[in-house]
Symmetry: C2
Amino acid sequence: MVATDEFIEEAVERIGEQIGDSNAIIALSGGVDSSVAATLAYEAVGDQLTPVYVDTGLMRKGETEEIRETFSFMDSLRVIEAADRYFDRLEGVTDPERKREVIGDQFIREFEREARDVDADVLVQGTIYPDRIESEGGIKSHHNVGGLPEVIDFETIVEPVRDLYKDEVREVARELGLEEIISERMPFPGPGLAVRVVGEVTPEKADVAREACHVVEDELEEYDPWQAFAAVVGKGTGVKGDNRVHGWIVAVRSVESRDGMTARAQEIDWNTLQRIQSRITGENEDVARVVYDVTHKPPATIEYE
Amino acid sequence: MVATDEFIEEAVERIGEQIGDSNAIIALSGGVDSSVAATLAYEAVGDQLTPVYVDTGLMRKGETEEIRETFSFMDSLRVIEAADRYFDRLEGVTDPERKREVIGDQFIREFEREARDVDADVLVQGTIYPDRIESEGGIKSHHNVGGLPEVIDFETIVEPVRDLYKDEVREVARELGLEEIISERMPFPGPGLAVRVVGEVTPEKADVAREACHVVEDELEEYDPWQAFAAVVGKGTGVKGDNRVHGWIVAVRSVESRDGMTARAQEIDWNTLQRIQSRITGENEDVARVVYDVTHKPPATIEYE
C-alpha cells in the first residue's frame, strides 16, 4: 500500500468519480471495514451517501449508541430498529447455516427498503481482501452480511478498501480520526451474537451472550487477542443457595491469529479466568457455568456457529 | 472408626446376624461403596447373597468387564445387559430431573425382577454417611440409584457402611483386597453418563462422553482430583479439512473437594489441557471442541445435569 494519507486522498477522489451525481447507500455494521468505507465515501459525496445501520438485536453491548455518536457528523445516517423482526424470524431456527441465511435475508429486506426510499443507484461496501479470498474458498458464507449485490440491482458497486488487509484498514481508520474503539476493534461477525448462541437465538440468550462478551472483551484486553468473546452453549445444572437450578453454560473463547484462517486458543492466566467466571456468573444469576475453550482452529471454528 | 480389620470382623458378624437364613440381594454399581458392602455381605453369607450389576449403557469405559473380573469370586453374581431398555426410555427426555427419574425407575424394574427371581427378603445397600446427609438436605435425588426401599418391600435393610466417610470406605476396600481400580476410584454418579450428557441421552452421546471421560481420567490422574470427567454439552461448528462440520462440544471438568458439598475447579497446566483436547478431538472426528470448566460449586454443580 502507498502511504496512508495518499491512499485516502486517492480513494476519496476515485469514489467521487464512481458515484458522480447518483445516490449511494452503504450498510454500516459497526466494524472497522464498513466504517472506513463509509467515511471515505461521505468525504467524497456528503449526503448523497446514506449510511444505514440496522440494529438487529444481535449487536455488541452499547454498539448502537456508539454508532450514533461516532457518525453523528453524517446527517444522512439512518439507524433502523429491527430487533423484533429478527427475533420473530429466528424463532425455532436451530441450524447454524439456516440462522445465517435468515439473518442475511432479513438484512436484505431492511436494506432494500431503505435503498428504494433514497433511490440509490450505487452500493458502497467495506469488503476487504481476505473476505474475497475466504468467500471464494467456500469455507463460509461471506461474512459481510447478505451478499447484497446478488439480490438488489445497483448500477455501480464501490469497494474502496477491497485491496487492503485488516491492519491496513485500521491504519486508515486511525488516520481518518475514527474513534479508537472502532479502529482497534476486534473482528465482529456479520450475523452478530447469533453465532455466539448455540441453537435457537432468543432475546434472552442474546442478552446473556452480549453481557458475557462485554466482560470478556474487558478482562482480556491486555492479552491483545485476535478475537475474544463469550458464547451461550446450552443449559446445565447449578446450585444457588440451597437450590438446584438449570442455568446457562457460557463458553469463553480467546484466540491468536494472523488472518482468521487458522487460530490458536490463547493460554489465559488462571486468576483472570476466575475473575471472568466470577463476573459472568455474578452479574447474571441465570448463568450456572463458565467454560474456557482450549481448541484451536482447526478442528474448531473461531466462532461457535 | 475403630481399626479397619476390627471394623471388618464386626461388620461381617453383624451382617450374618441380620441376614440369618434369608436370601439377600445387593445392587453393585461399580463404585467403591456398594463394592465394599457386597464383599462384606458375601463374606458373611456367601451365595445367599445375589449381587446384581445392571449395565445401563451409561457406565464407564470397560466397567462391565472390570466388574465381572473383580467379583469373579462371587458365584451368584448377575450381570444384566439392559442398555437397550434404558436408551428406549430416555428417548426424547431432556429435563435433568426427569432423566434421573427415568433411570431410577428403570433400575427398579430391573432390580425388582431379579429380587423376585431369587426370592430376596433382605436388601443390602452401600449407603455411606454423606449420602444420608445430602439426601436429607434435599440438594439432589439420592445418588444411590432408585430409592429402592421405598418401592420394593424387603423385610430387612442392611447398610454395613452407613456410618463411614468416603476415605474410610476406601480403607476398608484396600483391606478387603478389592482391586485398586475400585478402591481408589473417583466417585461415579448413580445415573452414570446420563449426567454427563446435556439434554437427550442417546447411545452416540453416551459413547462420546465415555471415551472422553476415559481420556480425562487418564490424563488428570496426577492432579489427584476429587472428580474429573468429560461431558457432552451440545453441538457447535468446526472445520475438518476444508469443510465446515457440526460437531460435539465436550466440557472437561476437574474439581477439588473434601466431601462433594462444595468444590473448586482445579487449575490445570496448559500443556495438559492441550494434550486432552488433542486426544479427544483426534480420537473422535465428531468432536469439534473441547472446553475446560472454570466454575466452582456453587454456583455450578460438579456434574452437568
